[in-house]
């Protein structure tokens, strides 16, 4: 965890709804792993002239880490970024995703959110021959996936959150990661858990993880705005997250 500076080197549109920013970052950030994020804000060389709108840092989940200290993030196309913009980055924020040792089939679910936070894991997993299924639910169905690796099998869930081969996918999956949009996260998790419970009478631990992307004011465990109630303890999204075992998270 440190603060470093970066530049937006390139901005390119990847689909109707999203653009990718190539960031020239500090060496230390290239060690960043899937699940970990950056807290970013535009900055000004002259700190007395710092601008405060937008105010909070944005939570950016890298989708790609390239050679030459380039980290790529995916942002909504509406947002306005210009190459050459200086950024302040705090990171890495949070813990890497924990994958099963013998992971063979993984199910990724993006519910009312673009799947960006789930994309950094793709290259390593695919390299290890892990078969990846991505299911888009709710507003996530508007997300175009043509720019994703073709090995990834993509489904669109219907309004009851079901998708073709759902039963099979759920049966095969060794691990499930459920990424939800901001708002009623616990409600969205609960909805997905109902699907799961229909398949597995008894859900094992370390099987289905919920991934959060709430706004993080501080990102270092200081402001306590990201507290989560687990069965036995309170945890912080910024320090302990973004992924939590959904059998452990209090969903109501």
């Amino acid at each position: 965890m440190k603060e470093s500076q970066a530049y937006i080197e390139r901005v390119k549109r990847v689909n109707r709804s999203h653009q990718r920013l190539e960031l020239a970052v500090d060496q230390s950030l290239t060690a960043l792993r899937a699940g970990q994020a950056l807290l970013a804000r535009p900055m000004n060389k002259d700190y007395e002239a710092e601008q405060w709108d937008p105010y909070l840092r944005e939570l950016w989940f890298p989708v790609e880490v390239q050679a030459r200290n380039i980290v790529v993030v995916e942002r909504p196309a509406r947002a306005h970024y210009l190459p050459g913009q200086l950024l302040s980055l705090i990171g890495p924020v949070g813990q890497p995703f924990r994958f099963r040792q013998k992971l063979r089939n993984i199910l990724l679910i993006a519910y009312d959110t673009a799947p960006a936070a789930l994309l950094l894991m793709l290259p390593p997993l695919l390299a290890k021959q892990v078969s990846v299924t991505l299911v888009l639910m709710g507003s996530a169905r508007q997300y175009e996936t043509s720019h994703l690796p073709e090995e990834v099998e993509v489904f669109q869930a219907d309004d009851s959150l079901a998708w073709p081969d759902m039963v099979m996918t759920l049966g095969w999956a060794d691990q499930v990661f459920v990424l939800v949009g901001q708002g009623d996260e616990m409600g969205s998790f609960a909805a997905v858990m109902r699907l799961m419970r229909e398949r597995h009478s008894e859900l094992p631990t370390n099987y289905v993880f919920g991934v959060l992307q709430r706004e993080l004011p501080c990102g270092v465990g200081a402001c306590h705005a990201c507290v989560l109630n687990l069965r036995r303890a309170q945890k912080l999204q910024c320090l302990d997250g973004p992924a939590f075992d959904l059998t452990d998270l209090r969903l109501n």
Binding site: K2, E48, W52, R214, C218, H224
Partner: protein, 304 residues
């Protein structure tokens, strides 16, 4: 440099720079250790602590605003006893005085808190947070009870009530005032569509509180130090408050957005403050007054 930030009398609380974080912004311990050099700050003010454990607020607690943020954390904390046991060691290692922010609830609970805190040498002083809807009498009772403590008592006044409360609270035994807590406000959560009420942080709070500090400084006794808080986002913001008569300042949400800014402000005013010594140390101040642990601990520091 050494700046006295509590009124002359039984206690003393010396800081080396008149800049500290505001309660609720940097946690209970040293959570900002990777991003801040604590040695450069005047003091650590902890997150709000309650006698009993509090769970966090349910649902959305953070709403980004134009040039600001609304936060309603619900002040989650494991309760005073646990906070002390969990952080005591970190506090002992802190190169700066530790000011514990205590949420004012009932005098009964306050009595218990005072007893506990008096046992903890690592706590240099207490900042008492008075809730926004508190009435004058309850506030006075709370402060009177808290003032029995064998440590300096700083009272943080709510934004909307500070005019009415300042003098009575001072007379009830506060050794310094923090003006003010972040104002309460309401904003709509863009994701859930719900209204959320909480505290509002941002640069625009500063001109409002600067006026307040300027006016109150002229109304309350000179010997009662004012610690200014609200919307500080640059060294100049902090200097303006000192010019208005504050002996020190607290930086709040700016630290979340740009942690280095807190340190910059502290370094900047650490030098600038020299010219403020007179205000910082009221004339009545008696140099051989009893000193707090903070003072003694500072003596052991490599001098900066």
């Amino acid at each position: 440099m050494a700046i006295e930030i509590v009124r002359p009398g039984k206690f003393s609380l010396i800081v080396s720079t008149p800049v500290m974080p505001a309660a609720g912004t940097v946690g209970f311990g040293d959570r900002y250790r990777d991003l801040l050099d604590y040695e450069r700050l005047g003091a650590l003010v902890t997150n709000p602590v309650t006698i009993e454990p509090w769970s966090g607020a349910a649902g959305t607690r953070v709403i980004g605003l134009d040039a600001g943020v609304l936060a309603h954390t619900g002040l989650p904390n494991p309760g005073l006893a646990k906070v002390i046991s969990l952080n005591r060691r970190v506090w002992a290692k802190m190169p700066i005085p530790v000011i514990l922010h205590l949420v004012g609830t009932s005098p009964r609970q306050m009595k218990r808190a005072v007893a506990m805190i008096d046992e903890v040498d690592e706590i240099a002083a207490v900042e008492l947070g008075l809730s926004d809807d508190i009435d004058l009498d309850s506030a006075i009772d709370l402060v009177a009870e808290a003032a029995r403590m064998e440590k300096p008592l700083i009272a943080r006044l709510p934004f909307y009530e500070s005019y009415e409360l300042a003098l009575p609270i001072a007379e009830a035994g506060a050794d310094a005032l923090v003006l003010t807590a972040p104002p309460r406000g309401t904003a709509r959560d863009p994701h859930s569509g719900k209204l959320v009420s909480g505290r509002v942080y941002g640069p625009l709070v500063k001109p409002l509180n600067l006026r307040l500090v300027g006016r109150l400084r002229r109304q309350i006794p000179d010997e009662l130090p004012i610690i200014a808080a609200g919307g500080i986002h640059s060294p100049q913001d902090a200097r303006d408050y000192l010019e208005a008569g504050a002996v020190a300042v607290q930086v709040d949400a700016a630290t979340w957005a740009q942690p280095k800014m807190l340190e910059r402000i502290a370094r900047d005013l650490g030098g600038w403050i020299a010219t403020r010594q007179k205000d910082a140390l009221p004339d009545e101040w008696n140099p051989d007054m009893s000193h707090t642990e903070a003072m003694q601990r500072r003596a052991r520091q490599p001098d900066d």
